[in-house]
């Protein structure tokens, strides 16, 4: 009966200005109106200013000739290329340093984080100081320091430090020999990808068999054998072409071989050292979040420290580690934009030159935002998928 009366109580009449629903809508309309007014004000000012300064609008400039040099390109580029091409070169450079940075700082950070928990006092102290030193100083300062050290403390090309007369370290970067271009390389690349796919399938099969029969499968070595072995087989089948392009001193610089530019080296070293300090803290807190019984049980089962870390602790800690790690990966991608300060031609650098040459700030800023947002969103989408996959399945 009580339920009936409760359910059928007529809604008390309230004055409209005391009704929370009406209030809510009024408030929203006012706020949206204010924001809309602000936007209209800014846009109308902008249109005004653009007309008065005779700045063109639209994205037509992308097809025009860029006319500026880019020092470090992954794809064919010359000053005669279009602005679109220049920006694409920048995006590729950003992605290159971001992907390498993510891989290396995950590796280094995990080592340092595990090292901080080592029973060896000296090792854990050194790792702790590493973390404190790198995360308490701005990344930009590290970048400047590494860049200046490479470009000023290293000798010039003529006095370059050489390793076996084939790798040369100088203030122009690191020169080392590469195989001459050969059609077989394309097929080796295909074999590499096939190897990765095969390794994945073999590992899945191995895991299934272990779950069914208890027989362990050497997944890592089998995978490595496939990934390295398949391209090697293709290389041998192609007649093992072994002509190399050697770097040689010609005039004021080296010719031949390939080079890692000092800007790229400084940026990558700075990003990796800085970010791995944060990754180390995340890994450490992830492992510390586990119950002590987990490591004790692993030890009681007779697993070595390395085994218990790899098979018992890290897989569980991953659940705690992955979400903050995602934001570190996003940070690397965004921090790679500091490249502009030391002259590495990343996306922001390309855009900055384009803004200065064309004056079309708005379109260019839109491109930057779209590019970074899509990279960020894809990283978070991937990490969310991975997080779901490793999440604890509660029954």
């Amino acid at each position: 009966m009580a339920v009936e009366t409760l359910g059928s109580t007529p809604r008390t009449k309230v004055a409209p200005w005391n009704d929370p629903v009406i209030r809510g809508w009024v408030f929203q309309i006012v706020v949206v109106g204010l924001v809309g007014f602000l936007a209209w004000y800014l846009v109308s000012n902008t249109i005004d200013n653009l007309q008065r300064q005779k700045i063109a609008s639209g994205f037509h400039y992308l097809e025009r000739e860029a006319g500026f040099e880019i020092g470090d390109t992954m794809i064919e580029y010359s000053p005669a290329s279009t602005y679109a091409r220049a920006i694409w070169v920048g995006i590729l450079n950003t992605l290159r340093v971001a992907v390498l940075g993510i891989l290396l700082s995950t590796l280094l950070g995990t080592l340092v984080g595990v090292g901080r928990l080592s029973p060896n006092w000296l090792l854990s102290r050194i790792c702790a100081w590493y973390v404190e030193a790198f995360r308490n100083v701005p990344l930009l300062l590290w970048l400047f320091l590494f860049y200046k050290l490479i470009s000023e403390a290293f000798p010039g090309p003529r006095q370059a430090l050489s390793l076996w007369n084939s790798v040369f370290l100088s203030n122009r970067g690191v020169y080392f020999p590469v195989p001459m271009a050969d059609p077989i390389h394309k097929w080796m690349g295909v074999a590499f990808l096939v190897g990765i796919a095969a390794a994945w399938f073999v590992n899945r099969w191995g895991k299934k068999r272990q779950e069914a029969t208890g027989q362990p499968f050497p997944g890592i070595s089998a995978g490595l054998a496939l990934i390295i072995g398949l391209p090697a087989l293709v290389w041998l089948a192609g007649g093992a072409p072994h002509h190399m392009s050697w770097p040689e001193l010609k005039g004021f610089n080296f010719a031949g071989g390939t080079v890692i530019q000092p800007e790229f080296t400084a940026l990558l070293i700075g990003l990796v050292l800085y970010t791995s300090a944060f990754v180390a803290e995340i890994v450490r807190s992830g492992i510390l979040a586990l119950h002590k019984g987990q490591s004790e049980a692993a030890a009681a089962l007779g697993l070595s420290r390395g085994q218990s870390m790899r098979l018992v602790l890290l897989p569980q800690a991953l659940r705690v580690i992955v979400p903050p790690m995602t934001s570190q990966y996003l940070n690397i991608t965004k921090n790679s934009s500091l490249a502009i300060a030391i002259g590495y031609p990343d996306l922001v650098a390309s855009i900055n030159v384009t803004i200065n040459q064309t004056g079309q700030a708005i379109e260019n800023i839109l491109i930057i935002m779209a590019a970074y947002l899509s990279v960020s969103l894809s990283i978070s989408a991937f990490m969310n998928w991975y997080n779901k996959r490793i999440a604890l399945r509660e029954r």
């Binding site: 809510g24 930009l140 400047f144 900055n352 935002m369």
Partner: protein, 426 residues
């Protein structure tokens, strides 16, 4: 029969010698196994090698007294460069004979931050400290401050409004009358001021010579950008976080969109935007100070990150707190300011300090749009051709200064985390 022996007669055996003292400690922590022992020896060798090289460079062969870079060359570290340039590194192009002003401004800001770190100050005193501190800081930096009439009127209006909302049911009639009076004076005054009836009058406080922001540099710039970036971003971040948790779909959409947009792009792109796009956004002829533009970009950026930290605190509150506040008949501002935020903010103080450390470091990015913060002045000190070629010394010095600031803040945040959780820890 040992059980029957009186306990007092049994002296406990001393533990074995190799289990106690420095020897036992070393055995347990450095040489517990073969692998560990080898690691220790390798590490000791590496540390000794690096330290001896570093000390040789930084102390034994270093030059502290040279008067030009040429005299320094060939030896170890050239600390004489720091000696020569430290005033420029700390205070930038601020007029040389007036350097005491940024010095005292830095001291004031540090005192402000240290006092705010004391939990006994976390009440109305905080407002007084920040009000007085900011006034002194900017008076020292600018040299002259003009307080316009409209600002005073606005403060009266805002103060009265906040008092009315928060203390509507609690205040005595006389107090409520005072709030009404403040609101009335503020609103009427502002209307009259903009209608042009009241003159554009301002209080001028001008004890010192005026120094414009383009001459500011060094540590005070870094401190101002970080401190006021956070101080303004904080209320703004609170609003964004509340908006993101709100039931009103339009408000929520606006806040989520803003937060995700800002967090998705690098700070540099915001700074570039502030330096090239802001002039386009404003009516022609208006120019905004470059320093202010950078400060606005930092505030917008910080607000989005702070909002996410605060959202964590809001989500950690049990639902019952919200429902109880509703049941008490509190309105939204009262519920939020008296019940929700005091609890939610308490939880997020340590992560907020970590965010602040991040901003303190990130302010170094403003050098890209040509503002002379601490890192930029250090950079400029390298440009002098007389002293070219010693980047390591200058950057290590700057790194050391940054380290002192960030490390002490992170220690404070750790201490607070323990201190604030005393009640809930087992």
């Amino acid at each position: 029969m040992t059980d029957a022996m009186p306990v007092g007669d049994r002296k406990p055996l001393a533990p074995p010698v190799d289990e106690t003292g420095p020897l036992g400690w070393a055995r347990k922590n450095l040489f517990s196994s073969w692998g560990n022992g080898i690691t220790t020896i390798v590490l000791i060798a590496a540390v000794v090698w690096v330290l001896s090289w570093f000390l040789e460079w930084a102390l034994f062969t270093a030059n502290f007294t040279a008067s030009t870079g040429a005299e320094c060359r060939g030896g170890g570290a050239c600390w004489a460069l720091i000696r020569e340039k430290f005033r420029y590194i700390f205070f930038g192009s601020f007029p040389y004979e007036q350097h005491w002003r940024p010095l005292f401004a830095v001291i004031t800001m540090l005192a402000m931050l240290v006092l705010s770190a004391d939990r006994r100050m976390w009440n109305w005193r905080l407002l007084v400290i920040w009000g007085v501190g900011s006034f002194v800081t900017f008076l020292l930096m600018f040299g002259q401050i003009h307080i316009p009439l409209s600002l005073i009127l606005f403060v009266a209006l805002a103060g009265g409004g906040i008092g009315l909302t928060l203390r509507s049911a609690l205040a005595a009639p006389s107090e409520r009358m005072a709030y009404y009076a403040l609101v009335a004076i503020g609103a009427a005054g502002l209307v009259l001021r903009f209608a042009g009836v009241l003159p554009s009058w301002s209080i001028a406080i001008a004890p010192l010579s005026y120094v414009e922001t383009s001459l500011w540099g060094g540590l005070p710039v870094t401190l101002i950008l970080a401190t006021y970036g956070l101080a303004f971003a904080f209320p703004y971040g609170v609003l964004l976080a509340l908006g993101r948790r709100s039931n009103l779909p339009l408000i929520k959409g606006l806040c989520v969109g803003f937060i995700e947009l800002i967090r998705g792009v690098p700070l540099i792109s915001l700074l570039i935007m502030a330096s090239v796009m802001l002039p386009l956004f404003l009516p022609s002829g208006t120019t905004i100070d470059k320093f202010l533009r950078a400060q606005v970009a930092v505030i917008l950026f910080a607000g989005a990150y702070i909002a996410e930290v605060i959202r964590g605190g809001l989500q950690s509150l049990p639902k019952g707190q919200f429902e109880a506040a509703d049941a008490m008949g509190l309105n939204y501002p009262q519920k939020t300011l008296l019940i929700i935020l005091p609890q939610a903010l308490r939880v997020v103080i340590p992560p907020l300090i970590n965010t602040f450390i991040g901003f303190f470091k990130d302010t170094s990015l403003v050098l890209i749009i040509g503002i002379f913060d601490f890192l930029n002045t250090a950079n400029q000190a390298l440009v002098d051709p007389n002293w070219a070629g010693f980047p390591g010394e200058v950057y290590l010095f700057a790194a050391f200064v940054y380290f002192i600031f960030c490390f002490s803040m992170s220690r404070y945040s750790k201490y607070l985390e323990v201190e604030l959780n005393k009640g809930t820890r087992r």
